[in-house]
């Protein structure tokens, strides 16, 4: 809402006006005499001060009205004839600056319920015109006028402690503060910026003459708006004038309203008393007419009654896939689009790894090191150092478009002189345009040679400003990257070396600094040397990173530039592949190592080998050879298990296992060569429709496991049946190693509920009975001719599913199988009769 104070209109007895954000009148209130300033809280309660007036409740000079315009409270503060300014602190206390008709001091603190008033025990017998409760340091700033100590800072709690004062011999009418804590005092002839620590003036902006009723506000981007007489100026936070406009009559107030818009008020001209400010130019747009002189204005955010609930999300997500020397990204949910700039720049036949950091994807591919930047806007200039005395933008600096008013936080510049691209996060709705001068503090000024370019961008990974002296160099060759505690870790050249960028700055590889956030490389830090060949780094939370090496596993704990150490995790095995690791949803870490599938339990307890008992030959059967295989380990959040897949590089032929974390069971799988797994990722998409475990396949398609899909989909959209089977047994047929007889086999398959549920397809079965268990297993594995067989008809328990054929042997086995297209099955149980028949022959 917007609230306006001003002179009483005799024709319409009003002194407080309230409007919706679009200028629609909301309500009016009459305090019986002129009001001067107002301030609103987060609930759209408005506090008004001015000349004392009797609204039917006796003389008052402070009023609190709710968002409907109903009086909540009022006070006659120390019998003052006039109160000039009012502010609130974060606790709801009210502070006012007042005249001196009967009081000694200029400022008073009033409790939120108006029950207590406490005067500041310091004063100079001059009128208190302005007051501010700092949102940054919590102290109170008060401006008074005209003589000694016209700007002062008080301790909010003691009220008697004057922390500093400034004497300009000018009357102070308005106070504001910058985000760095420095304070602004709008006085008679100048706008002063004072250091928050009391060390004095930082800068001042001269009005050119002496005026009364000067005002100042600061928006959320540290743009300063100061009104003085008929003038309104916009300054940057260094006091540089961006524009100055002249109005037809005197301005009395300026405020930041809803959505960081700027509004001003003043003497009635052209039928209006409140104007909306065009922030790029300073032009005033007619907005509100209160009918009489508007002396104060304030605005708040508006909560729309009954409105739709806004999307609170401030980010989106994109899937990125790399293949065939190209980078593709999800341009809209569900649609992958080629990033044209990247085409042909990557060698996807060689080692390649990518990691996300700071809205970007960092891709390393040997000596090729690239960045896909999804967050920054790009602007460009022919000369980043336009003239002597100018400076290049620093990282994190705010830049402003001189014409457009567009705003950007700098992330990267590509040169320190001459032609330069500047990548930064534009957070204004205004966009940068060709020909405009872009400025920043410290003398930054350059002219754009093109309109801004929206992301995504694709460029070389360089250090800031390509300044290797200050920021070092990106390592010549990198085979792997990972994000750890705000640093990008890079490794691979030489194979035992690893590097880390400065924290929160991927453009700084200078390891010569001494601060805790500095970049570093392992070999110059004794506590960080490993010595083994690095396979990959596996970050865990914010202070642990596992280093998987060829023959050992290590753990980096803490900040590597501030006491962090490398400790051994396991010296008996090494990591098989850079993609052979995964975290589950319980913070267990799984690794495929030279000794088997390991789990490192949450909290980094001793690793446990999950395959050494159940499958001792797992690693030798895996027979992984990095020169001919790709090995991936993926945690599937949807089905709560691990997918282990070894894919032949040349053909896509896969040898895979599903490790179910609910049953702790390992289950072999096979996929068509088109579906051979080369990469995988659980995509935590914004839309649940796309939130799933994804597989980067041999044929260039991204696939998913789909419960309702009964076949595997091939490259050409044809399907291939899934050949699924399980061997039940060996079943001992006699308790004393004798022979027995198996008969009356009956299977209950899934489904068969009347009126609902999915049903199991039928399942074929083969019965084996032999003298030894090993023989039974061998024949089930090889698919040898069974002694009996048939089909269990699904779903459920069907009539006629009992097979009475008898088989004899010491051990039996039943193999269930379905390899029919577009069928799937599930199995409840198998029953049968086993009857010992005597001693084995």
């Amino acid at each position: 809402m917007i609230f306006v104070t001003g002179d009483r209109d005799a024709g319409n007895a009003r002194t407080v006006w309230a409007y919706e954000d679009d200028g629609t009148p909301a309500w009016y209130y009459d305090t019986a005499d002129a009001t001067y300033k107002c301030v609103a809280d987060a609930y759209n309660n408005v506090f008004i001060v001015g000349k004392k007036g009797d609204d039917g409740d006796g003389d008052k000079n402070l009023w609190k009205l709710n968002q409907a315009g109903t009086k909540v409270n009022s006070l006659y503060v120390q019998d003052e004839a006039v109160v000039y300014d009012v502010v609130l602190d974060e606790d709801g206390n009210v502070f006012i600056a007042k005249g001196t008709a009967t009081a000694t001091y200029q400022a008073t603190k009033i409790s939120p319920d108006f029950s207590t008033e406490t005067e500041f025990a310091a004063g100079n017998l001059n009128t208190g015109n302005a007051i501010m409760a700092s949102a940054i340091d919590g102290h109170i700033y008060e401006g008074s006028g005209g003589f000694a100590d016209d700007f002062r800072k008080f301790d909010k709690d003691s009220l008697s402690t004057e922390l500093f004062d400034e004497d300009e011999s000018e009357t102070c009418y308005g106070i504001a503060e910058l985000s760095d804590g420095n304070v602004l005092a709008a006085m008679g002839e100048n706008l002063y910026c004072y250091a928050n620590d009391g060390s004095g003036e930082v800068w001042h902006y001269a009005f050119g003459a002496a005026y009364t009723n000067t005002r100042v506000v600061v928006d959320s981007d540290d743009n300063i708006y100061v009104s003085f007489n008929k003038y309104l100026a916009r300054l940057d936070s260094d006091g540089n004038e961006i524009w100055k406009t002249t109005h037809a009559d005197v301005l009395y107030g300026v405020a930041v309203a809803f959505d960081d818009s700027i509004i001003v008020c003043g003497a009635r001209t052209g039928g209006y008393t409140v104007w909306d400010v065009t922030v790029a130019t300073g032009a005033l747009v007619d907005f509100i007419d209160t009918g009489t002189i508007a002396r104060g204005v304030c605005g708040t955010g508006t909560v729309a009654a009954g409105g739709a609930i806004a999307d609170s999300r401030k980010f989106t997500k994109k899937l990125v896939a790399i293949g065939n020397r190209e980078v593709w990204y999800e341009s809209t949910p569900g649609t992958m689009t080629e990033l044209a700039a990247a085409t042909g720049t990557l060698n996807t036949s060689a080692a390649l790894m990518a990691t996300e950091a700071a809205q970007k994807v960092f891709i390393v591919n040997g000596t090729t090191k690239k960045v896909v930047d999804f967050g920054n806007t790009k602007i460009a200039t022919n000369d980043i150092l336009l003239a002597p005395g100018t400076a290049i933008p620093t990282r994190g600096q705010k830049l402003t478009g001189g014409t457009s008013g567009a705003l950007m936080i700098v992330d990267l510049i590509t040169a320190s002189d001459g032609a330069c691209s500047v990548y930064g996060f534009r957070y204004s709705t205004a966009t940068f345009a060709t020909g405009e001068t872009v400025t920043g503090t410290g003398g930054v000024s350059f002219v754009l040679n093109a309109n801004e370019v929206a992301p995504p961008h694709y460029y070389n990974w360089i250090t800031y400003a390509a300044d290797t002296t200050t920021y070092g160099s990106v390592p010549e060759k990198i085979t792997g990257v990972a994000l750890y505690a705000g640093r990008i870790l890079a490794w691979g050249h030489p194979p035992y070396e690893w590097y880390a960028t400065r924290q929160m700055n991927p453009w700084d590889f200078n390891n010569g600094a001494t601060d805790d956030a500095r970049a570093l490389f392992a070999s110059n830090t004794s506590a960080l040397r490993i010595g083994d060949t690095v396979v990959t780094a596996i970050p865990y939370k914010d202070d642990i990173c596992v280093w998987g090496c060829a023959n050992s596993l290590w753990c980096l704990i803490g900040n590597p530039a501030a006491g962090g150490t490398i400790q051994e995790l396991d010296l008996t095995c090494g990591l098989l592949s850079a993609n052979a690791h995964a975290w589950d949803n319980k913070e267990n870490l799984f690794l495929i190592t030279t000794s088997g599938l390991l789990v490192v339990p949450r909290g980094f307890g001793p690793p446990e080998n999950l395959t050494e008992v159940r499958y001792p030959q797992f690693i030798s059967d895996l027979a992984f050879d990095a020169s001919i295989h790709r090995l991936t380990l993926t945690y599937d959040r949807q089905h709560n298990g691990l997918i282990i897949c070894r894919t032949v590089l040349a053909t896509g032929e896969s040898t895979a296992w599903w490790f179910d974390l609910r049953s702790n069971g390992l289950f072999p799988e096979q996929y068509p060569n088109d579906c051979g797994m080369f990469s995988s990722h659980y995509y935590a998409a914004i839309s649940p429709d796309y939130r799933k475990t994804l597989i980067g396949c041999n044929d260039g398609y991204i696939r998913e496991y789909a419960a309702a899909t009964k076949n595997d989909t091939l490259f050409d959209d044809t399907t291939q049946a899934i050949d699924s089977y399980v061997g039940l047994g060996p079943i001992p047929m006699s308790p004393k190693s004798g022979e027995g007889q198996l008969s009356n086999l009956h299977a209950t398959l899934a489904g068969g509920l009347s009126g609902g549920g999915d049903d199991s397809s039928s399942v074929g079965f083969q019965v084996y009975a032999e003298d030894t268990a090993e023989e039974v297993i061998s024949k089930m594995v090889n698919g040898s001719a069974p002694k009996a067989g048939g089909t269990f008809t699904g779903p459920g328990r069907m009539r006629g599913n009992k097979h009475t054929q008898k088989v004899r042997g010491s051990f039996a086995g039943v193999k269930l199988r379905n390899d029919t297209a577009s069928q799937t099955w599930a199995f409840e149980k198998l029953t049968g009769d086993v009857k010992p028949t005597g001693r084995a022959k």
Partner: protein
């Protein structure tokens, strides 16, 4: 005799006459939680289908990296 699906999966660590309960040496493309009712009774694995219609790289060559990036929305 009543036999259930070998929910504990593949086990090749013991002698063939000592095959642990609910394990097997003969398994392919089955999982303990079935795709029909998502119950621990065993059945065929889920099928693999295309999640996106676009072919990455425009040719039958493998996807070597797959990841996601979060991007701030400018309001």
């Amino acid at each position: 005799m009543e036999i259930r699906f070998p929910r504990n999966g593949l086990h090749k660590g013991f002698g063939t006459e000592e095959q642990p309960q609910e394990t097997s040496r003969v398994l392919m493309n089955v999982r303990p939680y079935d795709v029909i009712g998502n119950m621990a009774r065993g059945g065929q694995r889920p099928g693999l289908k295309k999640a996106y219609t676009q072919q990455i790289g425009g040719d039958t060559l493998p996807i070597v990296a797959l990841l996601e990036v979060s991007v701030v929305v400018v309001e």
